[in-house]
Structure formats: C-alpha cells, structure tokens
Point group: C2
Amino acid sequence: MKEGPDIALIGSLIGDPARANMLTALMGGQALTATELAAQAGVTLQTASSHLAKLEAGGLLTQRKQGRHRYYALSEDEVGLMLESLMGFAAGKGLTRSRPGPKDPALRKARVCYNHLAGDYGVRMLDSLIAARQIEMTDDDDLALTDAGRIRVESLGVDYAALRKSRRPICRTCLDWSERRSHLAGSLGEALLTLFIENGWAKREQNSRAILFTAAGEKAFLELFPR
Amino acid sequence: MKEGPDIALIGSLIGDPARANMLTALMGGQALTATELAAQAGVTLQTASSHLAKLEAGGLLTQRKQGRHRYYALSEDEVGLMLESLMGFAAGKGLTRSRPGPKDPALRKARVCYNHLAGDYGVRMLDSLIAARQIEMTDDDDLALTDAGRIRVESLGVDYAALRKSRRPICRTCLDWSERRSHLAGSLGEALLTLFIENGWAKREQNSRAILFTAAGEKAFLELFPR
DNA sequence: TTCATACTTCGATGTTAGGCGAAGTATGAC
DNA sequence: GTCATACTTCGCCTAACATCGAAGTATGAA
C-alpha cells in the first residue's frame, strides 16, 4: 500500500464543484481573472480566492499579474489532457450537468480543448493528417510529423522552426470526450487552432468552449482535411 | 458555465485518501475483497463498505459475489486509463506518497497497469512492436495491429480470434506515469501480460503492482522485443 | 491625495462526510 | 440446529472545509 503517486490530493482539488467549474471554464484556453472565475463557479470573490490559491498550490494553475488583475490559466498541457480524460469518463457514464441544450451540438462539432481543436472537427483533422501520411506513429512519442507533414503545415502558415525550438512536444494525442477518439494536441495542435482563428475561419464563442466556423472557414477546413 | 461532463463527482470519489488507496490497490489488476481493500486503505470494514458502495454507484467499480466474499474490481479499462493519467500528473509534480524506496525501481521497470504491462518494459514492448511495423497508427482508433502483427502475436500464443470477437478495443495507448511515454493497453495488452505470466516468464508480486521477471523470462522478453 | 477597483486575509458559521461502535443480514462450516 | 465469517446498515461523533462578512492590501485613475 501507499506506493505510487498521490492521486487523492489532485482528486480532491478537482472534486469540489466550485473548483471543477473553474477548471472547466479554463479548459476554454483563455486566461481568466479571479472575478470572472468566481462568477463561473457561482461563488463570492473571497471563496474563489481561496479555491484559486489551492489550485495554484496543487500545480494545476498558474497566475499572472497584470495591473490590478490576476489572470489564471491551466499550468501545462498535461493538466488539460488529464481533465479531458476525466470528462471522457464522466461523459461515458452520462454524468453531464447540463441537459443536452442548444449549445451541446456546437460543442460536439468543434470546441477548444485548452489550447487545441477538439470535437468532431478535431478528430477529423487528425484522421485526415494520418490518412495523408503527414502524421505517423513513432517510437519516440505518440505521434510525429513526417517530412510531408512538415511541408504541409508550413504551407498552411505554421512556423515549424519555432515549434521545434520549444521543449514542448509538437504532436500529442488527446482523447476526445464527445467522440471517444483521439485528436491532435501539443504545440502543433495549438498552432493550427491559432491559425484558423487568425485566418478568420473560426472564432471562440464567449463564455463557452464552443468554436464557431464561418461559412468560408468551414468550407476551407473541410477541403483541407477531407475524411 | 455548467457545460460539459461533471468531473467534480468523479474527482471527489478519487479525492478521498481511503478511496484513492483502494483504487490504487485495484490498479494491480486483481479483484480484491472488501476486507482486503479495507486493510489497504487503512480503515475499518464498516468504513470501507461505505466507500465501496460510493465507488460502485459512481461507476468506477464492479462487484462480484462469490460465496460470502465480495470481489471488487475496476469496472472498465477506461477507469484504469483515467487513473494512470492522474498518476502521471501527480508523479510529474513530485506528489509521491512513498519516499522512493526499494520497491520503486522495480515498479519503474515493470508493473501492472490494471490489466496490462507498464513501466520501462511496457514502453519497450510497444516501441519494439511499432519499430517492427507490427502495430501502426490508424485513422479508426489510436493503434491497430498490422497483418504482420497479427501473425506475430498469434505465434506468441495469443488467441486473436477471441480478441476480435469482444467489443473492447484490441489496441489502446496508455500514458506511462514513470516513463511519461505510451505503452500498450487494450485487450491485446491484457492478453500479452497474461501470456507472460502463464509462460512462467514473470509473476505478480503480492500486494504490489510490481511484476518480477524470472531470469529466463527476462531473457526471452528482451529478445522478443529488442529496443 | 482621494477614490475606486481587484483581490487577499481573517474570523465565524454551518454543513458535510468520514470515521467507528453496535447491531443486523447472509453465507458457509460443523 | 449452533457457531463463525463476511459484509451491511444504523446512529452518533468529530473534524474538515466551503462559505461569506468584514477588514486589509495593492494598483490605477482623477
């Protein structure tokens, strides 16, 4: 007994409803202030402050001071992956808090998973890249860009050299809770989503994880990543 | 707010130290009785009973009555994958409960991850299978056996037809918390570990997740799965 | 300097839930 | 039948912690 990592500490951090709401909100990928997170969680500012301090102490969140605001964000990609894995299980058990409302289909179609694209479109993109042999399984990590893939993403406008410089993995799998299949995470996943938004193909919906494609953006995306 | 799956419920289930101990013990893959789990968790039988009821209600555990014993086990592969993901994060943060003791190196070398092989040897096996093009990335799921791979595992003694019949995925990736790389899960991962044990190459250490290879078994394993 | 905003810290309160003793049920052995 | 084991249910206690009001600190604006 008592061997291995201590999952109880992290579980208890996620286990409080107010904190879970905050983490879910931060899965949207944008850094949020303590006041915004308090509203999302449905608690007062004092309570939120205490929760945020605990999450930061537990290593789930990082804080950035900017003027009199404090912006909080998930501390690493790995936190997002972990939360997505919990969501996948919870969704499988039918443990959804909101009745499948009008937002739900939009979330299943395309949403932000911390910093990359998830949902049907996210899965489709990875499938398409693999089918075109632009991403492959490797023995070094889960996924790797092939030479063809590097050329492809550079032609899309991704600064591959910059990605390579960083110590973060370029490609990672992330299990999609709505599709129950993998989509692309890692710094390339982040770069591609950023690109779609900068191109004006898609934009984030405020206060939601949903991603809304424009008509032209959707057309371009579907042509770039055929099924 | 309040969109997406409810992770707080599952987090709180994992967040209690007694329950976390039980789940960690069950990651060993063997079904355990309520009394055994009470001992692992360090609580009385009454307390354990209450915890087990909650874990079962939350869908993390299944129960099987056998005479006057009740055997508990993780309910699905997905629970194991989720717990391993939490452990990966906790280990990364240095949140280990036990000081790196004598057991630790053994655990890092080879251990059970619910029902399949993990640790250095688990990662090595998947690397080797991929390098030999016996497992590949697919657009249907994370991993797939190639034709060469099917022949290979059948020659090792795996009943491939039986695996195919079940609705469970044959190959899955599982992130290894000690190596921080993927190893092979799914029904094939389970079948291979079972095989190693049935062949007498390795055995499970009692009350631990460690897997001990015999000298002959280790030699055979390393030859079968070169780096 | 004065005021306002953004947030933290302190202190008190109240609910929750983990813990266990005691009593109750179920299965098996004799 | 009686006894023993394995486990559950009940009831009570206690400790932990989420919550918020009030007061304190830091930053920026006027």
